[in-house]
Amino acid sequence: MLATETVIFVSLCYIGVLFGIAYYGDKRADSGRSIISNPYTYALSLAVYCTAWTFYGSVGRAASAGPSFLTIYLGPTLMMTLGWLVLKKIIRISKIHRITSIADFIGSRYGKSMTLGGVVTMIAVLGIVPYISLQLKAVSTSFSLIHQYPAIQPYSYPSGIRIWSDTTFYVALLLAVFATLFGTRNIEAAERHEGLVAAIALESMVKLVAFLVVGIFITFFIFDGFGDIATQAMAAPELRLLMTLPENAGAFSSWLAHIFLSMMAIVFLPRQFQVMVVENVNETHLTKAIWMFPLYLLAINLFVLPVAFAGLLTFGASHLEADMFVLALPMANQQFLLGLLVFIGGMSAATGMVILETVALSTMICNDLVMPALLHLPFLKPAQRENLSVILLSIRRLSIVLVLLLGYAYYHFAGEYYTLVSIGLVSFAAVAQFAPAMLIGIFWKGGTRTGALLGMTAGFTVWIYTLFLPSLAGAGLIPRDFLVNGPFGISMLRPFELFGLKVFDRITHAVFWSMLANVGCYLAGSLFSRQSVMEHTQAAMFVDIYRYVGRVHDSSVWRGTAYLPDLVLLLERFLGKERTEAALENYAMTHGINREQALTRDSGLVNHIERLLAGAIGSASARVMVASLVKEEPLGLEEVMDILDETRQAILYSHELERTTAELRAANQRLQELDRLKDDFISTVSHELRTPLTAIRSLAEILRDYPETPADRQSEFSGIIISETRRLTRLITQVLDFQKLESGRTRWQITRLDLETVIKDSVNATGQLIAEKNIDMRLHLPAKSHPIKGDRDQLIQALINLISNAVKFCDPQTGRIDIRLEYSADHLTLSVSDNGIGIGEAIRSKFSISSNRWWIRCAAGPPAPAWAWRSLARSSSITTAN
């Protein structure tokens, strides 16, 4: 009996190491340096999928049904390829809504429904119980095998054994202790267990290494490689059969059904949801995990078939269960240490699953089953209790123990009659019932609470009827007659051939009927029921999660007001004082709110507190708790629709208004500009036309009134009249060209000219005007002439404008006008000044800017209208253009 002590000692050491890792992981997590925050640990923790079923059961399955064991690993591989589409979305939703379990997820999706969360929890617990019993069975079977080393005794479950003398019972208790210690350390706001995940990742390494080592030993040391085993197997007719699937419709359909089941299981098993979604540190880890996890699955399956063949070839027709070949083969070859490694590997596969599964289930039981019930019991008054986190922890610990005891009970009563894989598949079929509500629910907003409830209930009822009850009947707990003849002798209702459907095997048969009932009821229920406001909001937030990112804070349909101290007290009860303080501080910091102010009307804070609570006790319970404190004013559907409609209208309308206003403003500016242009235009035209006209008229009057004027004077006057008329004609042409003029495209007659001549001509043209008013006109011209380039007519026009303005505004009695032309280094200054009232600063500056390089300074010019400056500017800018 040396083997027994060694095995127990090594097992305890191994569990001690796990404790150490988990403890270290938690420590690191507390100090903010996570050891699980990398894709490799994430992928390894996903491998908790490989349980004792994989470790021992796959070989058993391969030895009895050939390649079909692979379906359980092909399904997850396929599902991981959908990871980017499905898993990422589930992870994102869960992170934003602080989802803590699959029950929480489904309940939350369908309007934070308590009923739904409860139903999911019930299904999960009942569905997983067989799966847990499978692990217990594997551990106890392998133990009973190895502790008899070197003898290899086929294991037989001692019938009528007392629970107190059954090692399996103690195994179950030990696992319960471990799960309790690490799964329910304290109530987290986000329900994550870093230390536990680290331990799980280590277990995944151990089981993979153990299986690969034993696989290599059996294949290459006992036998002579793959080829050798396969060739020997080909020789044996019953082994030959295991190389292919039987050629019938049932085999094909069950192949497909198993792939479907495992695809669902990889997401919807509570422990898979826990590691994949809840314990996910960073979404991007998924990128690597989607290929690393399938790689792990491939590796752990490489040696399954060789080991199965080797086992069959070695043990033949002995009564040894094929499930135990992995362990029995090294033992048969006197490799105790290797056997011990296999035992530890199998134990890590089983313990990893049991611990994580019970922790996940306990969270669900506590948050979605017990808490809602407690909240409804008035005498408990949970809202008034001082420290609820202690109650929460006790509930969780109790539920872990309860789940393990249920698992043990199933094992005790029914487990001995089935192989590992067939027990596991029953559980897979149960969790597949979550698939329609989850998968359709995150892509289709129309799914309603009623639909989900009906679908899951219907599917689960079919599961109970076609798989669970028969498994109890198989164990003799209910009359077997029920299986053979159907209930009450109604053969149409035989659990394995419901309504006479005979083409499928049991699992496929159950999957077909349960999924048909589930999806059918879900769709029908959704189409024929209406969503409440809360459901509607949640559906939109789940389906359009990528659109709502960062806006969750104002997405809830709460119009509540609450008294802050009440809320804080509530949080403290569940999270403890420190965590509450930290969380609120954080909220105040990020929202720039002064915490000292009572935030009675801030629904954002109320929602935040609800989400914090949801992390600890699930969304449905959190809602009830907060609702009990918040004076909520629930909104009716109509009201919400009205608000939405009004808001939308208002937004549309204000957009419209803004646009119209902008258009109007622009139009107004244009109009003003046009008006100004028109004024400019009219005054320019009238003024410019009138000047030569005045000159012509006064000269013509002189000629008429004074016929005695000397002939040379007369001809001079006629000459001026003719030249002025020509200028007038040109002016009119230019007026017609106004459009061009405005855009600066007028053709100018640029010639070389002498500025002094231009000035003299201008003075001549206005000579009559000056003479009439008795103005003293003085020219200050330089001695040397400076030819420039420019348009003569324009310059004359500009000068005439300036002179006539000066005439108009200069002193009426002692009028005096100075025209001054000065040269400096690089420019000419022409100034027309009078002794009148002076020029406004604005006009001068405008002018200066326009006439760029060629300055014409008006020292004391009259407040001439803008056009005068403009025309001067124009002519001068033309002169400088060349």
């Binding site: 092909l74 793959f226 192949w255 690597k288």
Partner: protein
């Protein structure tokens, strides 16, 4: 379209391909009790397709991990 979306679609394509290759009727073509390289044909096929799928997943994932490089051109 972002690289994430492109890769998401590629992975969905891979999923459909896998679904096709891992199921009947294609599977039945290899459902024969013969040994190829000393390995039963059916298993060789399954593990082969499986490996190729994982390889393709790695390729697609790697394409995603350097988005800055590809985004500049696309």
């Amino acid at each position: 379209m972002t690289r994430d979306k492109i890769n998401g679609r590629r992975l969905v394509g891979l999923f459909l391909l896998g679904l096709l290759l891992f199921n009947f009727p294609l599977l039945s073509l290899f459902n024969r009790p013969v040994l190829v390289f000393g390995i039963p044909l059916f298993y060789l096929y399954l593990f082969g397709v499986w490996s190729v799928m994982i390889l393709l997943m790695i390729v697609i994932s790697l394409a995603r991990s350097e988005p800055s490089l590809t985004d500049e051109h696309g």
